[in-house]
Symmetry: D3
Subunit: 280 residues, 6 copies
């Protein structure tokens, strides 16, 4: 008969899915707060450990919040509650809710952020844009794969738009709507740094978030006959897609180990933008 796991047992299951060894060297992943012997009956998933999300998880009685973004990436010497990050630490500990981060390890893993994004967009034969230095050949940052059949850029952009959770800013595209595209590169989150990799890998399109004027313009200027076209999506939305799949995968691993938990995905949109004005 299924039993409630302790926090340490949930961490062990998460390690199987999103191993620590896949995290980039500058990253800070793993347990951020919590007691490892506490029972965890409810697990909440979200992209950002901001106060509204933490309140939602605590109010729901979750024993663990798993987020994609780290709370304390740069290192702190204080958790003073008058600072927003310190306030989050206080709320979590006072409520008995642990916090676990799966960031670049969650990006690179098989079944991680990039794999889920590739799958939802219908790519085939996907492989990493920047393979993990240590790990399986299927692991690494970004993905590139093929649409079967290919389609016009405008139609593919609509598919991207429809697949992502709706946020105010929508989806921006650089390229000709009628151009035929088939080879698709992508990177969830902010992928400025993989633009060149997408170009070199022969992509027709590169999808990522937070693209700024200079990197985007330089990429357009260097493009081969206009390719790769660029699709700029919400940083948040591109990572949110992973949450339901991650929740389901963790639930499955825990079940196989004889544990029962309740999983939930945060309904809070933490994309920072509320409304948008566009031409036409």
């Amino acid at each position: 008969m299924p039993k409630t796991p302790a926090l340490q047992e949930v961490i062990d299951a998460a390690e199987e899915l999103w191993p620590h060894s896949l995290a980039e060297s500058w990253d800070a992943v793993g347990l951020v707060a919590g007691r490892r012997d506490a029972p965890v009956a409810k697990i909440h998933f979200a992209v950002d450990p901001v106060s509204a999300v933490v309140d939602e998880a605590c109010d729901a009685g979750a024993g663990l919040l798993i987020t994609h973004h780290p709370l304390l990436l740069r290192g702190v010497t204080s958790v003073d509650a008058s600072d927003p990050k310190g306030a989050v630490v206080h709320r979590l500990i006072e409520s008995g809710c642990a916090l676990l981060t799966a960031h670049t390890n969650g990006d690179s893993a098989v079944g991680g952020v990039n794999d889920v994004l590739a799958e939802i967009l219908g790519l085939r034969d996907q492989e990493p844009l920047k393979p993990a230095e240590e790990g399986l050949t299927e692991e690494g940052l970004g993905r590139i794969g093929s649409l079967e059949p290919g389609m016009p850029l405008g139609e593919f952009a609509s598919r991207v738009f429809g697949a992502l959770p709706s946020v105010a800013g929508g989806v921006r595209v650089a390229g000709d709507q009628d151009a035929f595209v088939q080879r698709i590169a992508l990177c969830g989150g902010a992928g400025d740094s993989l633009i060149t990799a997408a170009h070199d890998a022969g992509a027709d399109v590169y999808i990522t978030g937070d693209l700024r004027h200079h990197p985007a313009s330089e990429a357009r200027e260097r493009a081969r006959g206009g390719r790769p076209y660029l699709i700029d999506v919400s940083h948040f939305a591109s990572e949110w897609l992973w949450l339901p799949a991650a929740a389901q995968a963790l639930d499955r691993v825990l079940s196989e180990r004889g544990y029962e938990v309740e999983v939930a995905v945060s309904g809070i949109n933490t994309d920072p933008w509320d409304f948008v004005l566009t031409p036409g």
Copy 2:
């Protein structure tokens, strides 16, 4: 009777408007290519020295192209024409068209990028967000000033949208459309680094371009009762506004010195985005 200036005489006039001493220490402003004794009868203005813009200027017979963004900011050891930047150098020199950059000096100057943006949006009593270390008190990065009268955020966002040249991505806003706003901070281009200055200066709204998820989200999390609200505009559009004013100012200074030139502003949209899909 007015005469055609040599390039050096145009540079002297530009120095009066956008002095070198206002450039940030990491920047590379001033003459990038050209012979200082060549006559300059036509001057072209643009944001980005990309190939389409350079072709436009050269085809129009311009003797000088003045851009906001530097061509060679990071330093090059080659101008090989098979590289996009080297191709621009070849086209310019082969066509006898000089290239002059007014970047952070053009941002900080009185009548520069930020002053023009503030004026078009109707601000009063504007002053720099980050005053120049050496210079007048009116000079520096960013501006902050007041709307008289104030208005709801949604109405002000529409004013911003209407004032900027139309680009695909439009204008994204974080905040409540009905909130009343009066104290406005802004920074043309990419102004992540001045978010805290806008907050500390008590702004109701902060307008800039290229805002990414993490800086925007952290600013939203730290906001005082939601303020400053954020308005994310096109990097290109926010700087383009300055071009007509800059062209007119340079024309005026040259006239006062007894020279006659023809000035033109590039009609090419170098915002990298072509179309956008948004909800609703």
Copy 3:
């Protein structure tokens, strides 16, 4: 009628005694955990924020623990309770006990660690060994002053031994017991780095803690006719002396402001050593 202060009001009083501006640039002082609007009826003082001390304070119902040593000096990206420092953060927040650090600001201040040590040893006309860069001339690291009258080194060492709280390791002395000493330099805590300052200031004796073989040997080799002699005391004991005086001073400032608190000094010896074997 006296009232219970909120945490913020206690912090304001502490700032008057041990101002932030006196802390060294590498240090991390101030509020480490706690909610600034919580009432603080009991304040506990200790040298080290280790688990036994934190348990003592929480069990006593303290609303604030003030320690000399920082908990998170090097910056952390996690407060996982399976790590000793994370465990302390959990215990504090779960118990509603705040933590405040007064480290190098507590050393340098008038009435701080070094002043208390100098006073207890009977020094006169004491002044800092390394004056504060910004601050009063009475503020800074270490102290130097005079005994009136002077006495043999052995007798003075006994005075030091008697004045400090008793710890296993006792007091080690380098020098001739019968030598007459009068000019005394000292630095609470670990003062390797001020040995040369004590030498240059003409001290007969230098008292500090944690002196290692190489700095001590080099100082002995460079000594002028054997001076300064060295007295190595317990790092903990030399700083503990300050606690009762600090508690009393904070109590007084709060009283003057119309507040009433209960203060206590930890009775736990956090010197790491438990017993000692010595010759003779």
Copy 4:
């Protein structure tokens, strides 16, 4: 018939025992002063090349002084005799006495400082705490091994006390006198940096010198059921133990090569402390 070696021949024999390749990269070992063709009839051994030791060696007519600690570790641009280190260089050269350093190579070697310490304390199956990057598996910094049979901590501390040359400061211990200990880690000299290695290797006790408050306290706070207990010994004493063994080993190697020398170990205690006051 045995003959007197030249300095170079003694250096060759020392290289066999304490090879240069075992020295840490930051260290400065080998010949510090002397002419390699000078005959060496007497060799003096000591821990520290301080003036009293150098005078002792020169007065005894030694042709070579071998010390554990380097004279010029940090690099000098002058040997001015008014500086203590320059005075040592003058005395050595004027007296025709060479100086050779065997520091971290002498620590790591088989039969080196750590091996001798382990043997005198009765350890079995000893191996390095931090194996040499290049070298035999028996070479490296620190040692860990087992007592057969184990014994109470208090009794083992007495054994340590009895084995070391007597210095004023004695031996400080952190832990319960009655606790049973068997697995012993040690590092001659100042071993702060190997505390974690001793912990991770499962030691019951870690013996070293110059332990300061913060490293010792953090180790106590992280200890597993109080282990490893800590024994803080004199930096000097822990290294002095090696000298008689080193002198004998070098004498033996030279004999095997057909040379005869007279060896002596310095009787000067260069521990900086002269007397101590302890409780009880």
Copy 5:
């Protein structure tokens, strides 16, 4: 029937002779200016891309100038024609003359600067002084080989003097004219950094340019019985020798590929010195 190559085809031929992979990591070799599809009927070779040389090449109608020294080694953010280097870029592009650099790759290659120098001086069995990290064993910086038969230093210095193009400063020699020499090390250009390698390789003589007082004096002080003697030659002259051989080799490779070009070597002496006053 032979045809005129495009610039890209000449670059491919040059890559076969002086591969990019042989360049030092700090160097900037390859195409500096020019359009890769332009036809190249005449190729000019020189040591330095200074204005007189560039004018000579352009006036002769060359489509490509190949120099040993890089024009923009340190990276530029402007090619303003009022700067000497910018003036060169303008002259080249205006005249349709490309610029290609073969610097440390031209030094290290088989048949490169050092091989040509060794051959002209009559060395046998020459090999690199500092072999290339990646490449053939015959590739690398400097060369060392043997004279058969050996001869007095004075006679060998005369051979060096006679072999080099005449420059004002002539050839300076450190050593005894009558000493017999046979093993010769050399490095074209400025070879201070290989003096120790020449010494360690057992050279009787080391030939290079730009030797300064301190490196030369230290080498003389460390010399073994006076060897290696030093011969200081003109930096320019030692590299100029390679030009005719390089021109011929490139001509041959292009011929083999079915192309016809005209090659020429600059007659301009870019050694900076014009006359010299010497004793006797």
Copy 6:
């Protein structure tokens, strides 16, 4: 009646002439070896502390050798006599001869290397090329002054040649022999780094030693109508000129203080070059 000074008294006199505070921050000047209470009856002056010079001084019974170049500029951890620098330390200490360095302080001082060179060449109104950061306005690196009357470059070069001690390499000149020159800049030793200062100061000629191909060629390329012309002299010779003046000045200061010493200037040429082959 005059008496023999102790070394400390000679050092005090030297400090008056060539104060420590004028040395560059990277330099190592002052006493390198010697006992400050030893009597100094004979003082030897030389440019380089090489073995032949040290032997000359010791054989002459000098109690002090004063050199321009430092012996241990880069810092040493050993003075092993099998190393050339260690051999010098042994010879000095064994012979009771001290070593004092006056390097960049000797360059910058009034009456120093550069002043003597300017005076011998007949300059008027000389001032430093790079004034000392702290010091008199007459102190600093390099000098610039005027010839009265001016003369052709060829004639001036002959004056330079005649003024310097004769060395094998002679004097190299870049420029037109018949050009009229009047404003002369100079820097004894190796003055690559002051070429731009000489150019900016409007010099007709710049005289220094150890000029290499690239700095000299770049200076020629940037020259204004060929100016400054360059005269490359022996590093050694340009500094040697100072020795007789320095010896005389020190003798005078000591006399004024009531001391009598014998001074001598080394006759050994430590220019590294022995003979030269030149065209014509």
